[in-house]
Amino acid sequence: MDLNYNEEELAFRDEVRAFLDETVTPELRDKVRNGRLTKQDMENWHAALNARGWLAQNWPKEFGGAAWNAVQRHIFEEEAAMADAPRIVPFGLSMLAPVLMKFGSKEQQDYYLPRILSGEDWWCQGYSEPGAGSDLASLKTRAVREGDHYIVNGQKTWTTLGQYANKIFCLVRTDPNAKQQEGISFLLIDMDTPGIEVRPIILLDGTHEVNEVWFTDVKVPVENLVGEENKGWTYAKYLLTHERANIAGVGFSRAGLDAVKRMARAEMHKGRPLIENPHFAARLAQVEIDLMAMATTNLRIISQAAAGQAPGVESSMLKVKGTIIRQEINDLARRAAGPYALPFPSEAVEGANEPPIGPDYAGPTAAHYFNNRKLSIFGGSNEIQRNIIAKVKLGGGR
C-alpha cells in the first residue's frame, strides 16, 4: 500500500501542470469560473490539447490517441479542474469514439475519428426523450428502413450543447414489436439534414446549455447505422460506461473547496473572517473530510481499472457520493457569498469594463448551485445508481 504517486506519475503531473500554466490564461480561467465560455473558447481548448497530442486521452495510439492509463487520465482531470481549465467536450471524444472503435465499421472509424480529433465534427448525444429519462429503454423515436435510408421521426431532449453540433448520435427504435431493449439501433445523423429542428431549453439559472432536437421525416443513409440493427442497446450501455469515467469529479470538488476557502477568508462575519466562524468552519471541514475519503476511494478504483479490472458498482457509488460532495460545496459557496449571492450577474449588467457587483467571487455562486442540481439527475440519476448498487448486492431479492 502506497498512497503516493510514483516518480513517473509525478513527472507526468509536472508536465501537465506546465502545459496548463501556459495554456490557461487568466482570461480563460475567468470565463470558466463565471460559466461564460463560448463555442470558440471550447474549440480553441480542444485545438491546444490536440496540438499537444493530449486531446484523445483514452484512445489507443493507432487512432491518434494518447493512450493514457487510468492514473494519467485522473491526474490530468484533477490538475485541469484545479487550474480552472475548460472541460473537454466529451460527446465525440469519450462517448462516441469508443463505440466506433469497438462496434463501428472500418469506414466509419476512418471517416469519423480523425474529424473528431480535428474538431471538424462537433457531436451531441441523442439519448433522452421527454418520456424516456431514467427509463431510457422506453425511448420512442422511430426509424423505419426505406431502401437505402432510415426515416427518423421523434424527439430527443436534454441535448447538451446541441446548438453547436453538426452531428448527433441517436438511439432510435427500429423494431417496435421486440422487447424494449431489443428493438433499439444506434444511428449517426447529420444535424443539417432536412427535418431536424433544434430548440433551446433555458435552464433555471438562465443558461442555454441543453436543447430539444426534433426529427420530422429525417432521411438517414443506412451506412450511418453503427453495428447491427436492433443491437443499439448494447452499444448504448457500452457508451454509458465511458460516460461514467471521472464520475467522482474529485478535481472539481477540490477546486470548488479551494474557492470556498478563498471566499470564506475574504468574507467578514462580525468583524472576523467567515472561515473562523465555527458553524461555517464545521460545514467546510465535514465536506473536506468526505472528499478526502472519496478521493482515496476514487484512486482505489482507478488503480483497479489501471490493473485491468472492470469497475462494477463502484462507479455508481462514486457517482452518488461524488455528486453529493460537489453539490454540498456549491451550497457552501452560495452561503459564503452572503447577500451578494442574490444579484443575478449577466454580461448585460456587468459589461466588459464594469466592475462586478459585490466581491468578484460572489456573482456566479447561486447560479452554479442551481445549475449543478443537474449533477445528481443526469448521466443516470442518483436514484438509478442506487438501484444498480442494490440490484447487484441484493439480487432480484423481492
Binding site: S128, G131, G133, S134, D135, S138, T157, W158, I201, I202, L203, L204, D205, G206, E267, M268, H269, K270, G271, L274, N277, H279, F280, R283, Q327, D331, R334, R335, A337, G338, P339, Y340, A341, L342, P343, F344, P345, S346, V349, I357, G358, A366, A367, Y369, F370, N371, R373, K374, S376, I377, F378, S381, N382, E383, R386
Partner: protein, 377 residues
C-alpha cells in the same frame, strides 16, 4: 388554545388566493421577471385595491391589521403564488419604519403606500456587513442646518422603484455599535445618491447604492438621532416573519407540484410515485413542511413580545425554515428530474425563492448563532 384564523384573516386569505390564482401563472411571472421594472404595476395596484397593503398596518397607522398573523397570512399567499412584487420591502420594511417612527408629515406617506402609490426601500446593510444589523459605516454629519450622508449600501431591494429610501447612517460610535445609528428619508433622485440596479436570481430587482455628499434638511430624519437600531431590529423582525411565511407558501407549492408529478410521471411502466424510495422521501417533505408551518406560527405569534424573546423565536423559525427549505427545494428538483431544471417549468422559480430566502436578514447559520446567544441569555 385556538389555531384557527379569525374571520377577517380567512377572508383576506381567500380573496388574495383567488386574485392571484386568476392572475399569476408561470407565463405571467416570467413576463414580469423579464420586464425592466421587475414587477407589475397593475398587479401592485390590484393588491392595493384588495386591501392587502392595508392589512399590514395597524388601525392607528391607517390600516386594518399589522399584527404578526396578518403578515403571515398575506405573505404565505404571496409565496404560494410566487409573487415577485416588492411587498416586503415597500410595506413591511419601508412602510413599517415610517409608521413606527414618522412625524406627521412622514406618516402621511404611509397613506400613499397603503394606496399603492408609493414604493419604498430600506438601504441599511453595507458591503462587507453581511447580515450584521449593527455594522453601519455610512456617516451622517450635521453641517449648518443640514445633514450630509456618505457611504455605500449593499443589495438594496426595490431601490429603483422606491420614491423614498430609508437610509441608515452613523452619527456616533464604532462601526458595529448599536448606538449612534440614525435613519433618514432620502428622496429618489437626490443629489449625490446613485443606484446601480440589477435583477436578482430569485426575481425582483435590487441596487448598489452610493451616497456621496447627499444633503438633507433636518426634517429628513426619521425617529430619534442615534437611536435607529431598535426600530430597525423591530422592522427586520417583522420582515423575517414575512420572509418565513413567504417561504412556507413557496414550499407548499413546491411540495404540491412534486406530489402531482409523482402521481403522473410514468417511468418503467408506472407512476414514479409508486416507488417506495420516492414515497418515503416525499413523506419526509410533508413532515418537514408541517414543522415549517409551526415555526412560522411561533414567529408570527410572538412578534409583539419583548425584543429578545421575539428574536429568539424568529431566529428559531428562520433556522428551521432554512434547513427545511433546502430539503424541500432540492428534493422537489431531484424527484422531478430534468424538467425541474428548466426556466419554463413552474418549480424552478419556487426552488429559487425558497433557497435564496436564506440570503436575506441572516442565513441558517446566522440565525442558529443568534438563537444560541438569545436562548443562553
Amino acid at each position: 388554545m385556538n389555531f384557527e384564523l379569525t374571520e377577517e384573516r380567512r377572508m383576506l386569505q381567500d380573496t388574495l388566493r383567488r386574485f392571484l390564482s386568476d392572475r399569476y401563472d408561470t407565463a405571467t411571472r416570467n413576463r414580469i421577471l423579464e420586464s425592466d421594472e421587475g414587477f407589475s404595476p397593475e398587479i401592485w395596484e390590484g393588491l392595493a385595491e384588495l386591501g392587502v397593503i392595508g392589512a399590514l398596518f395597524a388601525e392607528d397607522q391607517g390600516g386594518f391589521g399589522g399584527a404578526g398573523f396578518d403578515i403571515s397570512v398575506v405573505f404565505e399567499e404571496l409565496g404560494r403564488a410566487g409573487v415577485v412584487e416588492p411587498m416586503l420591502d415597500t410595506a413591511i420594511l419601508g412602510g413599517g419604519l415610517l409608521a413606527a417612527l414618522g412625524d406627521e408629515a412622514q406618516r402621511a406617506l404611509v397613506e400613499e403606500v397603503i394606496g399603492g402609490g408609493l414604493h419604498l426601500a430600506l438601504a441599511h446593510y453595507e458591503p462587507g456587513s453581511r447580515y450584521d444589523l449593527s455594522r453601519v459605516r455610512a456617516t451622517a454629519t450635521p453641517e449648518g442646518g443640514e445633514i450630509v450622508l456618505n457611504g455605500a449600501k449593499a443589495v438594496v431591494v426595490n431601490a429603483e422603484a422606491a420614491g423614498q429610501l430609508i437610509v441608515s447612517a452613523r452619527e456616533s460610535g464604532a462601526a458595529d455599535d448599536p448606538g449612534g445609528i440614525s435613519l433618514f428619508l432620502v428622496p429618489a433622485g437626490a443629489n449625490g445618491l446613485s443606484l446601480r440596479g440589477y435583477p436578482m436570481i430569485s426575481g425582483g430587482r435590487a441596487a448598489e447604492v452610493t451616497l456621496d455628499e447627499v444633503r438633507l434638511p433636518a426634517s429628513a430624519r426619521l425617529g430619534t438621532a442615534g437611536e435607529g437600531f431598535e426600530p430597525l431590529r423591530t422592522a427586520i423582525a417583522r420582515a423575517n416573519v414575512a420572509l418565513a411565511a413567504e417561504t412556507l407558501g413557496a414550499m407548499e407549492t413546491a411540495t404540491e407540484l412534486t406530489r402531482e408529478y409523482l402521481l403522473t410521471r410514468q417511468q418503467f411502466g408506472r407512476p414514479i410515485g409508486t416507488f417506495q424510495a420516492l414515497q418515503h422521501r416525499f413523506a419526509d417533505m410533508l413532515i418537514e413542511l408541517e414543522q415549517a408551518r409551526s415555526a412560522v406560527i411561533n414567529a408570527a405569534g410572538n412578534l409583539e413580545k419583548s425584543p429578545d424573546f421575539r428574536d429568539m423565536q424568529i431566529s428559531s423559525a428562520r433556522n428551521l425554515i432554512g434547513r427545511v427549505g433546502r430539503l424541500i427545494a432540492e428534493e422537489s428538483i431531484q424527484m422531478h428530474g430534468g424538467i425541474a431544471m428548466t426556466q419554463e417549468y413552474e418549480l424552478a422559480h419556487f426552488a429559487k425563492r425558497i433557497t435564496m430566502a436564506d440570503h436575506r436578514f441572516g442565513d441558517t447559520d446566522w440565525h442558529l448563532e443568534r438563537f444560541l446567544e438569545l436562548s443562553a441569555a
